[in-house]
Symmetry: C2
């Protein structure tokens, strides 16, 4: 894709230009449907700077590697998933954001392109958890993170809330089949208790017609068993242009 416009030779002899290392940091969300908790994946830093502090999983981009490839690589290093939703979040790149940018390090700048990912909790296996310092943190219990990662996480959380309202990202986080109250709980935990009445939420979503009742029922403790539904991507494509598909 992109490139740049340059006034080569003019005011911009290359000594003026900054040299960058580019990193990719991932905000990885998941939802534990059994406990209705929104989770973020954190890793313990193994190196300086910020050794021993929690941070977002990230890596520096290698030669010949695209930004997205780098994002997938860290993800694959930390976690084994079947499905996966990934999109770019934002690029943070002012000078002085990374302690490694000290004057003695040849003036190299560190820039971070953040990515936003959603994975299914049941299908996600953390690689070497325990040993390597990697864990799911409920959003409200996230500690102080390395660099400006708390800000990035906050930004990702905002994106998640917005996306829930107009795109079917919820089905990337939910298991393959789910009950309508799973879906409702997910929306409630992310968007807040009073975003909608359950029964209205239910009718609205069913009317859109992209949720298929599998016929299978599950009973979870007391109460009437619930139907398991499946998201139908083709059916969704037909209604996605309608105003206000969600919420």
């Amino acid at each position: 894709m992109a490139a740049l416009v340059e006034k080569q030779g003019r005011a911009q002899d290359s000594s003026l230009l900054a040299d960058f290392k580019v990193g990719v940091d991932n905000v990885i969300f998941s939802v534990d449907t059994s406990q209705n908790r929104l989770l973020a994946l954190l890793v313990m830093r193994q190196d300086e700077p910020f050794l021993g502090q929690w941070s977002l999983p990230g890596t520096l981009v290698r030669r010949g590697e695209s930004l997205e490839d780098a994002a997938y690589r860290i993800l694959a290093e930390k976690i084994k998933v079947k499905n996966l939703y990934l999109e770019q979040l934002y690029t943070f790149g002012g000078p002085g954001r990374d302690p490694r940018e000290s004057p003695n390090s040849y003036g190299v700048r560190y820039l971070s392109v953040s990515y936003f990912a959603l994975v299914r909790f049941e299908e996600a296996d953390l690689i070497g958890s325990g040993l390597r310092g990697i864990a799911w943190y409920p959003l409200e219990k996230v500690p102080q993170l390395a660099f400006d990662h708390n800000q990035i996480l906050e930004y990702g959380y905002r994106r998640l809330r917005n996306k829930l309202e107009y795109s079917p990202v919820a089905f990337e986080v939910l298991p393959e089949v789910f009950t309508l109250s799973d879906l409702y709980q997910l929306y409630s935990t992310v968007l807040g208790e009073n975003f909608s009445d359950y029964s209205n939420f239910r009718t609205r979503l069913l009317k859109l017609g992209f949720l298929c009742d599998t016929g299978v029922k599950v009973s979870r403790g007391a109460g009437r068993p619930a139907s398991l539904y499946r998201f139908n991507a083709e059916a969704f494509a037909r209604v996605k242009d309608k105003p206000l598909v969600f919420i």
Copy 2:
């Protein structure tokens, strides 16, 4: 802000890592209300690669300069504006996106962070237009651009359409005072003819209460003179949390 998680010394000795030059490319929109045309600012490239071809105004980031500063710098080089809206768009950074990345150039990668800007047409003076090859292009007449700038422009246009629906960006492009049909025309040209009936659009917006009638009337050709309105940012702040403020 950001930084990165690194497995220093481990699998990632620095020879593996890519070295980047970072560029900033601006998608700058304006609207000519008198002709109801959405315009994008293009500049003619003065250097290789793509010499003599139209492109988005861009520059390489200098030492000690933030991404946003670089974005403001190119803008200030090309155009003199009073008001300005600027936000980050997207970062394009795969390998092989820039011809300068050829093997003999030390393997330096070129990455582009794009920014999205809105300026008022009347208040925007193009610097050295004519001489330096800089021009407003109606969106539908934009020619083939250098690099992947057509894609970036398309991306920016999508962002503009979305922003119109839930944020008051329209008032960044309109003159300080405007008629309600100016506003309606703007929405029509960007969103398409049949996005809404004029009279309904009108009542909806006036009911929100952040448009102040200045009392001044303007007559443009035949027909009844129209009231000039002004956007009231404070009043908007009070209603901005209401669902679907626009459209």
